[in-house]
Symmetry: D2
Subunit: 301 residues, 4 copies
């Protein structure tokens, strides 16, 4: 399959009709919308996918449907992060059974594991998972920052890459450097604003949430970075800066970006804007604000 | 049943044979050990119970067995905290079916909910839970601090009490004051060192982890607080201070206290010391250290 | 002199006419107001005294005047905390020259010193200071939490006490226990809400900011704690809880309590309400709110 | 003078013979070493310059000597950050009197000012400072993050630029975008690892601590960024990554980088390695380790 991972791999939102009911039509339309933009993979059930908020029953229905719709056009990565190891493994097994390519694991997020505990966790994970795995650094939500020794141990045990959503570009450069000898081990950026810098500096690609709504914008930016085309990079990054100052800050929620994506996709007729608890959808003037912002971005949809 | 909750309600550890296998003999012995110490209730599947690390299958087996063993001698409270609302509700339903008395809910712990989201969550919870509920403040693990307006709204919707494990005694005093008009609404302390102050200041009791190993010590301390017997209070608190400087700090883990409890209970022949991932049990010299400390506390076992 | 320190030692605010001009009349009236309430000492130039915001020139004028007004009626402690060691020593020397009794030192607050650096700092301080010194734990502003080994080393070198403004009562109990063998070494609480618990648990007293405005309230509470008079304790603590919910939360500033004190003292005709930069005084409706709250507390002024 | 600021402006360390004694020879040699590397300005008395740890007397001696040595060859910027406004203004006045070009101000760092307080502070500062000023964002030490509205207000009042040492590249991109219309307003990066990305993305330059020891390395990197010469950028950045993994992490201090610089400069015979309290110099094996690392970098000295 995908060895190494590379390019734009959107962390797809999970279309819902209600807290525990899938928006099946939405899933189909959204996958076509995103793949239509030229992305290089799909990452399901991550933070933007509200993975930790969903029941295993719904996760399975969603994974089966998504793999059927994708039909192998791009690699499918599945977030299996769960505070319970057994829950994570249940989704890993199911992911393999429906044809997904890889699983993505963030640290278990209730108890903040120290480095020794995290390495032990990775060892148990590597022994039990039926698919190649990617580590996902998300300290804002998991309270711990993955260390290079942990990642190195994971790599020895079959880990195929790492995604950094710490927001700390210095950290990302340290990781790129630490693993540059093995070009099959993928280092992914999780922050949209420095996606091109990361790629020019040696990252394999980016997990860009905005590609749910504007897949082509991020694919174009990735390609400009591969070509070191700085004028295009600066022009497209200006759009992302604009998004950061507008569409991404409408909601007061800590998950404001995810909420904006679902609202925008709903306004575009692609899928429902229902959120899983504890998140809440935008209403009224907030929703209209997103509509206004969408209009200004219409060349990128 | 228990209206209001009061006294010492230990957050019971969950005896395990391995990551997903219950130590059934251990459960029976441990419940007898704790109830034998005179406690006023049992809180299952909380933080010390490693609730978030366990599969729903194991949780159910554990709840059924525990309720059978308790046989109504004390109220049983069940932690249902889950990052997925549906998972929380599944355990709530099961808790009722096996005869538990109440559920205990901390904020969903992946996305840090803001106050609006938390109030919405409580409303959905109140509508769906089949048992009375208690709110559990645990900012170290859930990243958010419950507010008085959230608790007030929960109380209107049937919440019967709140437990504060923030460690902040000023916060606890503010809560005691905010809810003192309704003596049926229970305010519980989650920090052992100021248990007597909390009770003398108006708290209904404490959820004291150390009561897994030393139930009588905490029951005696609670009773001394009820009697405002300061010499006894200061004498017994000295023991807790000693534990904080010895048995509670052997492991470098963030969950060091829970790990110490399981090790001590294993050394006492009560149950296994296996931990659920990501936690790891103590070995070698660390375990011997716990044995040494236990000997010095033998009058309290 | 005062060996050991004990009782209520208010962290006196510094009356100002403008950012760098002392309100000399205000200083006199305020000292009489506070001493008139029966306090056991005065702590000048601490956090409530805006010490770090004042010029050394103004500090000296203030110290000279204060010592003249106090005339030995109570011990005078002087906060000398400065990010520059030489600045701290300049004020220590001056404090001795005008007859102050002790200096109080928080960690230097720009670079967050680790334990090794902090112990080295204490050694240099002990060698240079001409007066006995007290350590002041204020992690919210200094970014570091003093450790028991650091305090122990300071005690060997002549430190006469420690004040904990961490807000963490468990920490305070650990310190009380660690130093209980030497009753001449004072452990002071910095949090008003658990002042009586601290005293009953072995603390020597409290540095209570509210005693700027309501000295008698805190003196009465201290005496009730010495007598273990719980009904009085709970009645007086209710007043403090009320203050925490009203007068102490009018300003949005991180220094809201200090700002409230100056406003209240200005409304009482005792001194000016000018703040040193970066703090700002209350105006308009906020000031009127303080006036309303003051009226409800008139029995304690 | 320098309008706008641009290029590499090293935050020069302050050579000391002891806590309050200047290493005058060291100052001369160090300035020649740094200017010899082709830098575009000098920033004195910042975080690397241990400004907040030094007496005003020593600061003045240092500023006078430095301006005499520089003799106008490059602009001189002076950090005046002080928890007391009057202390900051005293150094600002003195800076002008000895011919410095600009002052640099971080938020007062004891009380964490909120946005309203910070804007008020900037207004008072702008009215009082006799030199153009630059704002310095250093949340690790000052506890607050400057906001765009605060910077915008400062700019209206004469602020000529801003330096971001938050380490957050997304924040830097937002600031570059917010102020891009006025090319005379300088936006500087404070993080070495993404210096070239920042410059290619529109930043005016960088305040790079490593340029104390390796000025030419950073000047070359800046020039490569201006030319968009990615092979050179990646080659030189690899050196910085190597420094981050070696020389910059020898000390356990929070100020480990500054300590490494002084040690290296002492080993090179340029100036003393004495630190101001609370920092401590490296000794023994740690110092030898720095010597070993220096040898591997000899082509850049």
């Amino acid at each position: 399959m995908m060895n190494p991972l590379k390019g734009i791999i959107p962390p797809m939102i999970t279309p819902l009709k209600s807290n525990d009911e899938l928006d099946r039509d939405g899933v189909e339309k959204l996958i076509e919308h995103i793949i239509g933009g030229g992305v290089h993979g799909l990452f399901l059930l991550g933070t933007n996918g509200e993975g930790p908020s969903l029941s295993n029953r719904l996760k399975k229905e969603f994974l089966k449907l998504s793999c059927e719709v994708v039909k192998g056009r791009v690699p499918v990565l599945v977030g299996i992060t769960d505070s319970a190891f057994s829950g994570a493994m249940e989704i890993a097994e199911y992911s393999k059974s429906v044809g997904a390519d890889s699983v993505v694991v963030a640290p278990p997020f209730y108890f903040p594991a120290n480095e020794t505990e995290m390495i032990n966790y990775v060892e148990k994970l590597a022994a039990a998972t039926p698919l190649p795995f990617v580590l996902y650094n998300m300290p804002m939500h998991t309270k711990i920052n993955l260390t290079i020794p942990t990642i190195r141990r994971a790599k020895e045990l079959g880990c195929i890459g790492v995604k950094d959503s710490s927001g700390d570009m210095a950290n990302l450069y340290m990781w790129i450097d630490a693993f540059k000898e093995d070009q099959n081990f993928a280092v992914f950026a999780g922050t949209e604003l420095y996606l091109p810098d990361a790629v020019m500096g040696g990252a394999h690609g980016a997990v860009a949430g905005g590609a749910n709504v504007f897949p082509k914008l991020f694919v174009d930016l990735y390609e400009a970075a591969l070509k070191q085309d700085l004028p295009t990079i600066n022009k497209l990054r200006d759009k992302i800066i604009w998004l950061c100052n507008t569409m991404y800050v409408v909601s007061p929620s800590a998950a404001r970006i995810t909420i904006s994506f679902k609202t925008a996709l709903s306004l575009l007729g692609i899928c429902s804007d229902e959120m899983a608890l504890p998140l809440m959808k935008l209403e009224g003037a907030d929703k209209e604000q997103i509509a206004t912002y969408l209009k200004e971005m219409k060349e990128f949809i």
